[in-house]
């Protein structure tokens, strides 16, 4: 790989508007799941084509077929007029088809630069040209307008930043057809804006883009056309100008929902948890109270210290100063175990690393926190194990063939439902949800928000972390804004507008950027 940034995006062979890729009866069966029923669809050169649909509708499956990650069961893919086998990722890349997958699939122990050129390393006489690669990677990253270092280890970046690197990586390989599978799920607003700029730029360079998202406003902001998948079937394709939110949602879930953000106000009860001048790794001097019946929202950029704050409350990390009070009494929380015993529950932000045992069954994952309750001293009650799991599967509409299917075989959004679902039966008093609706479809989001209300009505308190402002804005009774490890502002329910909150979350970061250049 010796190309320079200028050669990265070769002009497309086709003029805009011609069909570049066509699916003819494309179909995929997994054992037990008919994930994609024969789909016919043509993508036009240079368009941004959004694909939307419920969790498990088959979006990611379609992408995996197009990028050669999985073999198709039947059907044809026509690339620039020629049938393409797309049997291996290598073949797809050689054609110019690249993807940024839903879950970051890069090597976390390698540097950013090494990841960028993975498989196409720059070497001379078999010796890696490390320094040249870092320089070149940095040039590409800067060129894309991302403010990220190329020499650091990928794992040291936030998930959002890793996603940006994955996007950068996908643009450097003579890409003509680029697929984004829920790229903004883990991005902050600012990172998302950077990504949109990149996508629009690629479009002007003639790259065809597929954009998958559960966020309608992004679809309307970016896309030229939008296709809707439901249960593996293509329900329809619309020009973006000729459709609207409600129609798409209706097509997706075959019913309409009047209101996504379901908000009931309860009179707050006694304080459940209080943090007094708490400091720890990644945050300092944070004071706040969570009372029974209220949702406390934590908004900020990813990396603003919100996750570190709550994991410290939860005993995962040691606090360095300050005090935690539980129901009015000072407590020492030295481990997750202590926290859970008090009555806390945490649904962590990264389902892959912290949330799920991927190669174990859905049922085991759902029951993990409550095995103590569903077993006597010695044995697990099989009946309870079954009913508990089945209840969560039904309540959250987790799309899985059986409770004994492996968690890894579920679609991203359905995996997220397990991360949340496992705490619902637990009966905790304080629930901490860290980015709970990442990758979750509209219908289920509404479902999860309704469950929040159920928890509140039972006297629980909720800490809701989200980098997606509308979510915390519409749900939080108290909204705290974090910036660089500090709690910088507090608002009541809808007492500030989006602009103000955003400025508070961003301010210092922008100053710092300004100072650097």
């Amino acid at each position: 790989m010796t190309s320079t940034a200028q050669e990265l995006h070769p002009a497309p062979v086709l003029e805009p508007g011609r069909t570049i890729l066509e699916l003819r009866g494309l179909e995929k069966r997994y054992p037990g799941t008919h994930a994609l029923k024969p789909v016919n669809l043509a993508f036009k050169s240079g368009e941004i084509h959004a694909i939307v649909g419920e969790n498990g509708a088959g979006k990611s499956t379609l992408i995996k077929l197009l990028t050669g990650v999985m073999p198709r069961t039947s059907g044809e893919v026509i690339w620039e007029g020629q049938p393409a086998a797309l049997a291996t990722p290598h073949e797809a890349m050689a054609l110019g088809i690249n993807a940024v997958h839903q879950e970051v699939v890069l090597c976390r122990h390698l540097t950013v630069a090494a990841n960028m050129f993975l498989g196409e390393e720059n070497s001379r006489f078999g010796i890696l040209q490390q320094r040249a690669m870092v320089k070149e990677a940095q040039k590409i990253i800067d060129d894309l307008g991302f403010d990220l270092p190329a020499h650091v280890t990928l794992g040291d970046l936030t998930i959002g930043q890793q996603q940006l690197i994955a996007a950068a990586r996908a643009t450097v390989r003579g890409t003509k057809f680029l697929i984004f599978d829920e790229p903004t799920a883990y991005l902050t607003r600012k990172e998302a804006d950077q990504l949109f700029t990149l996508i629009r730029r690629l479009k002007t360079e003639g790259v065809t883009i597929i954009y998958i998202s559960h966020r309608m406003e992004e679809v309307f902001e970016l896309a030229d056309r939008v296709s809707v998948l439901r249960d593996g079937t293509l329900v329809g394709t619309r020009n973006i100008a000729e459709t609207n939110d409600a129609e798409l949602v209706k097509m997706m879930i075959n019913r309409s929902i009047e209101q996504i953000y379901h908000k009931e106000h309860f009179t707050p009860g006694a304080a459940i948890l209080e943090s007094r001048n708490l400091s720890g790794k990644g945050f300092e001097n944070v004071s706040m109270t969570v009372r029974a019946g209220e949702i406390v929202g934590l908004y900020g950029l990813i990396g603003a210290g919100r996750s570190e704050f709550v994991t410290t409350l939860y005993g995962r990390h040691r606090k360095s100063a300050g005090q935690i009070l539980w129901e009015g009494k000072p407590v020492q929380i030295n481990s997750e175990h202590d926290a859970i015993k008090l009555g806390m529950a945490l649904a962590p932000e990264s389902r892959r690393d912290q949330g799920l045992c991927l190669n174990l069954s859905v049922g085991l994952n759902l029951n993990l926190p409550i095995y103590k309750r569903i077993s006597n001293n010695l044995l697990i009650s099989n009946a309870q194990e079954r009913t508990q799991a089945d209840r969560q599967i039904a309540d959250l509409r987790i799309k899985t063939p059986t409770r004994s299917a492996l968690a890894s075989s579920l679609s991203g959004g359905n995996q997220q439902k397990i991360v949340i679902g496992k705490w619902l039966a637990h009966g905790a008093r304080l629930f901490i949800f860290d980015e709970p609706t990442v990758g979750v479809d509209v219908g289920t989001k509404a479902e999860i928000y309704r469950l929040f209300s159920v928890l509140l009505s039972k006297g629980a308190g909720i800490i809701l972390i989200s980098s997606y402002l509308p979510e915390v804005y519409e749900l939080a009774d108290t909204l705290h804004v974090f910036r660089r490890g500090k709690l910088v502002a507090t608002h009541g329910f809808r007492t500030a507008d989006h602009e103000e909150i955003l400025t508070q979350a961003l301010a210092e970061k922008q100053e710092k950027l300004g100072g650097q250049t």
Binding site: R29, Y30, P31, G32, M70, P71, R72, T73, S74, Y314, R316, E336, H337, I340, L346, P348, D353, Q354, G355, L356, C357, L358, N359, L360, L364, N367, L368, P369, Y371, K372, S375, L378, L379, I380, N382, P401, T402, S404, A405, K422
Partner: protein, 322 residues
């Protein structure tokens, strides 16, 4: 492509049970073939012998499997067996009642397991390293204690045990059942068993779900050490001596049995019946090869080939329709 997908259409429910049946079928097939091709295989004497040979590795493999399910490995079990024969022999010869001697030997196994847990959890050592270290040093300690000699055990009743049978089945095989049933209940029907799997699959997710990961790891290695010490007692009874160099390479046989029995070295996949069957398949192959006068060197090669073949097919089927 399409045929493959249709063949894989049905979800593979109860994969574990299915794989267990396949192994059982393989074992039965081996027995049938050997009964037909040799005159001596089906004799009561030979079967008893085979059960005795397989039993000790089978028990080791069960403990080993607990550890492997958590994503670890216990290389020390062979050395623990040897060391345990020394402890048991010394205690019995010193006039300690047999019952007490056995109990103390088992406690030594538990202590070794706890030490492994300590090294992994508190010192952050990789399981491979800490158990490798115990493997070599335990043999050394045993040799120091015995001055490099074997200790003959002067207690006939103790030695009788391993030679005798109950209801026509060798006592040693009863010991497999004695270990196997609680182990099965523990692994598949208790929450600690579930925790072994969850820790092996994703320790961080388990921790955040309230699983005591450290205790789970301690438990796995302790059980492995306990199984090994128990096998040490059985071996001392069988050969009538305490010798720290006994059971050389048994750790590898235990690992092989476990893996043949469907345990994944990446963790989170395994059972109790699998390793038991694996151990007896290995024992049958060795026994059969002896009867058929196959060169002992060939036996090792066959065992190696078998590991590759079984694990390969297991992996193929696990990956299923992809």
């Amino acid at each position: 492509m399409s045929t493959e997908a249709i063949a894989a259409e049905k979800p593979k429910r109860n994969y574990n049970a299915l794989f267990g049946l396949t192994l059982l079928a393989l074992l039965v097939l081996l027995w049938v073939i050997l009964s037909l091709s040799t005159s001596s295989f089906a004799s009561a004497n030979n079967i008893s012998n085979l059960l005795r040979q397989g039993s000790m590795i089978a028990i080791l493999a069960v403990g080993q499997t607990f550890v492997i399910i958590t994503g670890g490995i216990d290389l020390s079990v062979g050395a623990v067996v040897g060391f345990a024969t020394v402890i048991a022999a010394m205690l019995i010869n010193a006039g300690v009642p047999v019952f007490l001697a056995i109990l103390i030997t088992l406690l030594v196994g538990v202590a070794i397991g706890l030490f492994h847990g300590f090294g992994i959890v508190k010192m952050g050592l990789p399981p491979f390293i800490i158990t490798l270290a115990t493997l070599t040093s335990l043999r050394g300690i045993g040799l120091l204690m015995t001055n490099g000699n074997s200790i003959s055990i002067n207690n006939d009743a103790f030695q009788e045990f391993s030679r005798n049978s109950f209801l026509g089945v060798p006592n040693l095989f009863w010991m497999v059942i004695l270990v196997g049933i609680p182990a099965y209940i523990f692994l598949h029907h208790s929450r600690w068993g579930r925790y072994l799997f969850s820790v092996g699959s994703n320790a961080e997710a388990s921790r955040l779900s309230g699983v005591n990961v450290q205790r789970t790891i301690y438990m796995a290695y302790t059980l492995s050490g306990l199984c090994a010490a128990f096998v040490g007692v059985l071996l001392a009874s069988r050969i009538g001596i305490g010798n720290p160099t006994q059971a050389e390479g048994w750790e590898l046989q235990a690992i092989a049995s476990s893996v043949i029995g469907g345990t994944s070295l990446f963790g989170a996949v395994g059972s109790v019946h699998g390793p038991l069957l694996g151990a007896f398949i290995l024992a049958t192959i060795n026994n059969g090869a002896n009867l058929l006068n196959v060169n002992a060197f060939w036996q090792r090669i066959i065992t190696g080939a078998l590991i590759i073949i079984i694990v390969y097919f297991d992996g193929l089927r696990r990956r299923g329709g992809k």
